[in-house]
Symmetry: none
Subunit: 247 residues, 2 copies
């Protein structure tokens, strides 16, 4: 693999550190904010904070793994014997992506049956999506990457269709005051999510080795911040608004 | 002992990191969720969170011990002078397994006499089971492993029989709305538990050295996640449901 240069190494390091700060801050904000929402929304806010806490832990590991993978020398950057561990991202997503969908479902406060059935089907599809993406991510063979990307896109499209069309009825049943916000939360999820498959294909679109590594790491980091921290604060805002209107 | 390869080393490392994230997340979820259940169920939920907290601590130590036991070199993986410390698992189980049985008994809310008598007998049997398993786990002699496995299976079978038949009357006295859930929690315990003696015997069934090490470590990790984190969330769900129905 083509070596990244010192500037690229530093850019990625700083992006990871930024993510640690954002995820840690969001976790504390959500855990403290939990006391400000009505009892029926506490679990949604708790899960939002747990998602950013899990991401905080993994970005710490990712940062350390990145530092261990390279050494700065007098003449520039050299790779060490330690490979950067991509698995941390996938382990993180395997836990957090199903939980993110649960947050959205819980804050809508559907009937118990609908919550359980939608929660089960979306969380299962999310776990499947991540498990199918990993073998492609760790492969350097373009054909293999496309194969797993395609397989992973099947549950991905299923979830997006579910969010876009399946939730419309549930969103329309939300109280007037939050209908737009819940709809926005849904749009934010779909937009942030579309980032991931695009970042995944960058190395397959002829973006050169070192540059691709940089774009992939920075790209995933931005997507994670939007999909977890920004989204979590959004869920909290919906919970506060609904608590105020006794909905 | 046959050396594991780099891929096996990384697989086990990632499994341990996954366990750290799951146990930490479950602990926070249960400690925050404690405020959402009726006073008579708070102890059951507190103990559930303490079990995952103890496991969180031990998986951190286990992860570090695993990293210290091997070094990545330019030519692959080499063992260091530090032996991977299996004792952390047994110390963890010695504490958590009796507590797991107490969780189940407490959430059922039996009479005080029944709670004390069942708690004492099951917790004592659980501690005995762990103490008898350890000498076998650290032995490389197949005959020794079988001897301690057999001795450890005596309290194991006693507990399983107690859970399967002894608790049936108590489960039938649970309120209608949670009877199925409590029964499922019992089934989950029994199923997760049956995993351990099977993982233990893998090295005695001719599964080769390095492969056995990998399967044993990943197997115990999955079993721990189900028996502690998934089970703990289940206990919380039962407590919430019972609190709602004032049971």
């Amino acid at each position: 693999m083509e070596m990244i240069n010192l500037g690229q190494f530093e850019l990625v390091s700083n992006a990871f550190s930024f993510a640690i700060a954002v995820m840690g801050a969001a976790t504390v904000f959500l855990f403290l904010g939990r006391s400000q929402v009505a009892p029926q929304y506490k679990t949604a806010v708790t899960i939002s904070g747990i998602v950013t806490l899990i991401a905080f832990y993994h970005y710490w590991r990712i940062f350390d793994s990145w530092q261990a993978a390279y050494t700065v020398t007098a003449t520039g950057l050299t790779a060490t014997v330690h490979k950067f561990n991509d698995a941390y991202r996938y382990v993180d997503w395997l836990l957090t992506v199903p939980l993110l969908l649960l947050e959205l479902i819980l804050v809508m406060r559907l009937s118990r049956e609908e919550t359980v059935s939608k929660g089960k089907s979306l969380a299962t599809a999310a776990a499947l999506m991540i498990l199918l993406g990993y073998p492609g991510e760790v492969s350097n063979i373009t054909g293999e990457r496309w194969k797993w990307w395609f397989l992973s896109m099947i549950p991905f499209v299923y979830i997006v269709i579910n969010l876009v069309s399946g939730l419309t009825k549930s969103i329309n049943s939300q109280p007037e005051s939050v209908r737009q916000m819940v709809s926005d939360a849904r749009t934010l999820t779909v937009l942030a999510w579309c980032f991931y498959p695009v970042v995944f294909v960058l190395p397959m679109l002829g973006v050169g080795g070192a540059e691709a590594t940089t774009y992939v790491q920075v790209g995933y980091t931005i997507a994670d911040i939007v999909a977890k921290a920004v989204f979590g604060v959004f869920i909290f805002a919906v919970a506060v608004r609904k608590s105020e209107s006794n909905a």
